[in-house]
Amino acid sequence: MGGKTKLLEEVTQNLTKCVTIDYPGGTWPGKKFSYIVPNGRGKHEFDKEKCIGCQACRNVCPNYTISILDKNEERTVSVFLGRCTFCGRCMFDCPEDAIKLTPQYEFASTSRDDLYINNVVERSKCKNCGEYLFPDKQLKRARERILAEIDERVRKVFEEDTKIYLDYCSDCRKKIGYTMNTLTRKYY
């Protein structure tokens, strides 16, 4: 009985009121774009202060959407919306919560170049040979994370060592490592 009356109610409602939804949908109080579902997955957004350029989003992307270009001082993390399936794995697996999928759905464009979303991270330089290394922020963040997990007896020595080590690339570390006076030290 209950099911049938509910069905009748819905049928009468659909006959009387307008089914067509408004376009465009609702808007946030502070934001410009409209949304359909508040937590829906749409256009990407980078938090430029948080992003360290660690490539975790590139490695995890199932559709080869995110590519990374290294050019001298800059590393650009670029998302090509044309390939994206909006699965949200880059958002879930980002260690810094820097990339987010906003509920914006209106990203149709008349040129292909508008479909790229870029973020530029600066890279650090090797003191000895002048070659460009990983991004500055990534090295800093990695150091912090290691220091938090490392054994207390080694922490102080490690902290001093990393200050010397991190300015050089891996090849130069092998070549001029003996001048740093860090290898012969007793750790505990």
Binding site: V19, T20, N63, R83, F86, Y105, F107, T110, L115
Partner: protein
């Protein structure tokens, strides 16, 4: 704006060219035609003949087999015409092709390698609302070409 241009802009007719793929974009296009997302509010209508159409709506990664047909459809539509690439496959072959430049043995490439594309609608599949937004963009593009 004369009467001919006005009537064209207020009732753009759409031809849907299906070029392979998983049919998910086609289901979304069907949803756009239905009363919930009603595309007829902007006067657009689906036509089964490219000779009647103003907008060509392409879905799917274009396989080698259907590439000549897509070109023929493009030649058959009268000017001015606008091409929409709907879905990740039509924009850049999507999950069917890796991004390493080798390509897929069965595909002829993205839509803009065959015919000039005016409006890109990304998404996998695109939401019905974003297809609506794409059609509105295509109409504004038609007004420029007229």
């Amino acid at each position: 704006m004369n009467l001919k241009q006005k009537s064209r802009l207020y009732s753009p007719w759409v031809f849907h060219a299906h070029c392979g793929g998983c049919n998910n974009c086609d289901i979304e296009v069907a949803a756009v035609l239905a009363p919930r997302f009603d595309i007829e509010r902007i006067g657009a209508q689906l036509k089964n003949n490219p000779r009647h159409a103003d907008i060509i709506l392409v879905t799917g990664p274009v396989p080698k087999h259907s590439a000549p047909f897509l070109k023929r459809v493009y030649d058959q539509t009268p000017k001015p015409k606008v091409v929409m690439a709907v879905g990740g496959c039509a924009v850049d072959c999507g999950p069917y092709q890796r991004d390493d430049g080798k390509g897929n043995y069965a595909l002829a490439g993205a839509t803009d390698k065959m015919i000039p594309v005016d409006v890109y609608v990304p998404g996998c599949p695109p939401k019905p609302e974003s297809i609506l937004h794409g059609v509105v963009l295509a109409v504004s593009k038609l007004a420029e070409k007229d």
